[in-house]
Point group: D2
Chain length 349, copies 4
């Protein structure tokens, strides 16, 4: 079995990976690390795991934290992975990081990202940054297969980039501008209680936030620009809806001259023909259709009357938006079947 | 007291008006009519009204249905008001209709509307149609004051039109195209249970619907085109989020050459300076801030980097989107204070 | 106008009273005090109040905090009111406190209460404690009318005591034991975010808490024992359900020998005949029927087959369970109509 | 592979079994039957199954409905299984039924059950009824292993019976009376939209129903009486809380003379020592801890002060309360590992 050392085990991103690996035939969690919730089994913090995973959670500097591992997964906020990864890489371990630490592989781009977020602008492991691969499996499968360091994509970024990649590549977006109207469930904000996520404030309520700039925009623009071969600018409106899980990104652009709904649909079906986790359709879908799974349901619904490219992308923010993408990447990094441990449809209702 | 005969009293739009009129100093509900839920007091269907309104609900053809009234409000689906209104008008009563029956004042426009919806294309009261005034108070106050027949606007239309009216009038929308990304609470679908509104299907779920065309688009385009002085085309994406009440419309267009966030904000503040139910700001708001009230909270949040006009409009779909607008119109139709009975902030949380 | 100085203005209990007083003809909020959220208008913290109440929130030691007032309302946690009230009483002001500080009028009983909660056992204003009246209006109307100091009841206690008072008084509870199975909405836990109230944890989830003893049990036992003329012991199970507002208390006891469903129902109707906020019925009700109002909906549903007294009591925890009861008490303390400012049915849905 | 013909495939109980069998190593769904939703693949009705189960749904009289099968599962309302089962049994197939059709193995008991529900009192397959085994695996494992016909228990019944079985058997319930305060998520009412389950009515709302008698009481009383060796009477209060999934049953009785919290806890741990799906504890749990799994979390929380036996039982109503229990029974009926296909912890949050 391939052994995973999971840092940040007690957050939603950590427990998500634990859940997925419980059914994985070749990868297992071997060490659980956390900053605060330590000294107790993970099933103390997540009682549904009782009997399934009762491993102890250790602090990063505990002796047990240094057990044997093939790969270290950082399910941690920005700034942690870049600090701890070098030592792990020296030990010959691969690294996958959920944060922005390894999503940009130059210090300049990282600086821009960090500056937007108000983080220290200097990356702490520039030598590792150079090797880092952006972990959006559908776009970078081959590089991920050879990577030692993978930066898992942002949850919104997964929905937006996959929602527009075929149109970008096919030159179907006129004038290089797109709008991403994003709606997220509240689990995307993590496990830590905050005023806007307090049940009485969050129920029966929808609101926008970070209107002056969300940290996932840079990824979206880079990836789509690469595919389009020209600059793609993104207006991104992050919004919270009263759900626990799910992201729905409604994406808009100007339809290029020759593009029609029919052509766009065909382009999407072709682009994703061999991608096992992408479902393309011209019928409406819903976040509940992907809840609990690693699938991306993409609806192509252009408005020819107004000449508008319109795509709706649905993911489970904690699976395809986080732990599922992580596992998909791990599968590829270790030469396994891309779908191993991810062959699950979720549950309804 | 001005007497209201309320047809469709047992739907959400009906009970909403009853609730509001309970505190109105000069208008009262005098007769309650419904198609199905008849022969019992309204408080049987809505027990929270017990002791506040225990009036009997009658069928339209019951003798009691013909009691004295100053105005008839049709809180009914398309097709009812146009059939029943002529007789009421003959009796000298004013008419306000919640449906699309009197939103368009030519048979041609009505035909287009009805055709989109799959309704019979011929309006049944063309002579009344000519006199009908579109009941968006902030835009048509003077005409409403003199109107005998008012077509109350669609809930989404209220959010979209008010959200873009100042920009349209000021010529700040480049190229005549806008995008309306609408999110609605489920009460917007009415009282009748439907599969997509069944709790286990609707909770933790967000989805788009009617992607090929929503019935409120025509109103939006007509009103904004009138204000802009040129054709405004709308791409509208109606979406359901797991809320009971509230509409949030995120509106996008291309910023005209000289327009900036600062100028747009100023234009909005000026346009709505004397409109008591509109709050303009550049800070994010939320549907919970207007829940239970007749207010429209408008956030001006243009993205100058991408040259995008971005406006977010929040309403309570059952108040400003329906019964509240109706009462605001009634106030004006009868020469009363526009805010009478609507001076309420809602409750939090 | 009677002036209220409101301490703890920015919590849910504070804003609830502000909302109610907005429509009160004779009482108004005159000073707003808070511990943390100070230096800004209340409408900054509760934007729905914008234009309705934009008064500044002050710290308790700010000069403005000492403005003229007829009554001081402490919407604060245990321990605050007893410390601050003496000074206010000296100034001739009446006092109403939401916490347990003035619910027990002997130092011994307070000590027992405080000990259960892990609070310091010594009451800080024993001389005021003696004058304190328990503010359950339906039971202590006359004393409240003459009181200078009123201890507003706990939210669960309101639902339980009113749900069982008639049975207790009529001797219909055999063997002196009752069970209170309580379900509360999350707003009952206040405005402060906590892990169990974080939306992703609280949605789609029901759980019990404080199984070894809830602070409201003492009130319940005292009041019911007084009515019954013998000791009534309570097993109380507090439970959280995924709602914002509402308490439903399902109450069980052994039916006394001669008691039947019919007799119990009659006893309840008689007991509450002149209580304007109590609705008694043998039909099921729901928390939504009292949401947004000061009403208590009581369902009498004894199970004669098993000889079980069963009563279900529904309140809005933030109104009849808190701010509404407070206002009902204020009305009586100042000789006003008990229903002033409370004549509201709530809104549906 | 063991082949399952699933009748009622498109209800929540049907899709639940399909989901579980997707991961079962030795049992598979082979034929899908429904009353209404036929002629399309099951993934049309449940799009999350796309790519996992795209089998066609047939009417019961379609030629394809008669394909080979080892067992027929009726996920259907009362009255269907008893009509269709005889023919299947003749073909040598085993039968498992979700409804009350085979929960009582005498015509007299069935008659009583049917009468309570207002169903025709005569069982249509009395000869099969005699062989029927009540499918609560933890109590009737051996009989189920040899059964040809199993009546799957009611969802509430699972929670109540398993919650009280150890106390009943150990004689810890004084005076033969228990109270079951049950809270269910709305999926328990099935897939069909109804007024009380319409999102705007169901959100932020808790209510009781069927206060004069719920159909699951008979099972509860029979099973507990059998264990206790004397009659156990049940007062059952079914209540709806705004969740999709989950049942929490709070169970009360009078503690027998010598029973203490410690002894009760010990008795529960002993009783369930070898039952893989039961977790016993004295700490509070929650429905979210069992959501998506076949586990029963039982909290023993007696109130010694009042002499009250108090047990809280948590299940996922659609798994342990329905499809999971069904699969657990199928495993045992076919000599497989009881946990096969059920080794899943659910997902959090």
């Amino acid at each position: 079995m391939i052994k995973v050392k999971l840092v940040g085990a007690t957050g939603y991103g950590g427990v998500g990976l634990i859940e997925l690996l419980l059914r994985h035939p070749e990868i297992e969690v071997s060490t659980l690390i956390a900053a605060n919730d330590t000294g107790k089994p993970i099933s103390h913090f997540y009682p549904h795991l009782q009997g399934f995973c009762d491993m102890m959670v250790y602090a990063a500097d505990a002796p047990e934290a240094d057990a044997d591992a093939d790969v270290v997964v950082y399910s941690t906020p920005d700034g942690i992975g870049m600090q701890l990864a070098p030592e792990e890489v020296k030990k010959g371990r691969k690294v996958l990081d959920y944060s922005g630490d390894f999503r940009f592989n130059s210090v300049e781009l990282y600086k821009e990202y960090a500056t937007r977020l108000g983080l220290p602008p200097t990356h702490k492991s520039p030598e590792l940054l150079k090797q880092a691969v952006y972990g959006l499996t559908e776009l970078h499968r081959d590089k991920i297969a050879e990577a030692n360091i993978v930066g898992n994509p942002g949850c919104y970024a997964v929905a937006c980039i996959l929602g527009l990649a075929p149109a970008a590549q096919a030159g179907m977006i006129e004038n290089g501008k797109i709008i991403c109207d994003g709606k997220t469930g509240i689990s995307g904000g993590g496990k830590k209680p905050k005023p806007g996520f307090h049940y009485p404030e969050a129920y029966d309520n929808t609101y926008a936030y970070r209107l002056t700039g969300h940290q996932h925009v840079m990824e979206v623009e880079r990836e789509l620009s690469l595919l389009a071969g020209c600059e793609i600018q993104t207006t991104f409106t992050p919004q919270v809806v009263p759900m626990s899980r799910g992201i729905m990104a409604t994406l808009y652009g100007t339809l290029a001259a020759n593009a029609t709904q029919k052509k766009v649909l065909a382009a999407y079906k072709a682009f994703y023909a061999d991608k096992p986790f992408i479902r393309v359709s011209d019928a409406p879908s819903s976040t509940s259709h992907v809840r609990g799974s690693n699938f991306v349901n993409i609806t192509v619904a252009c408005d020819e009357r107004t000449g508008t490219l319109r795509i709706i992308s649905h993911i489970d923010n904690l699976i395809k938006g986080q732990a599922g993408s992580a596992l998909q990447n791990l599968n590829i990094m270790f030469g396994l079947d891309e779908m191993a441990g991810l062959q699950l449809p979720g549950a309804h209702p």
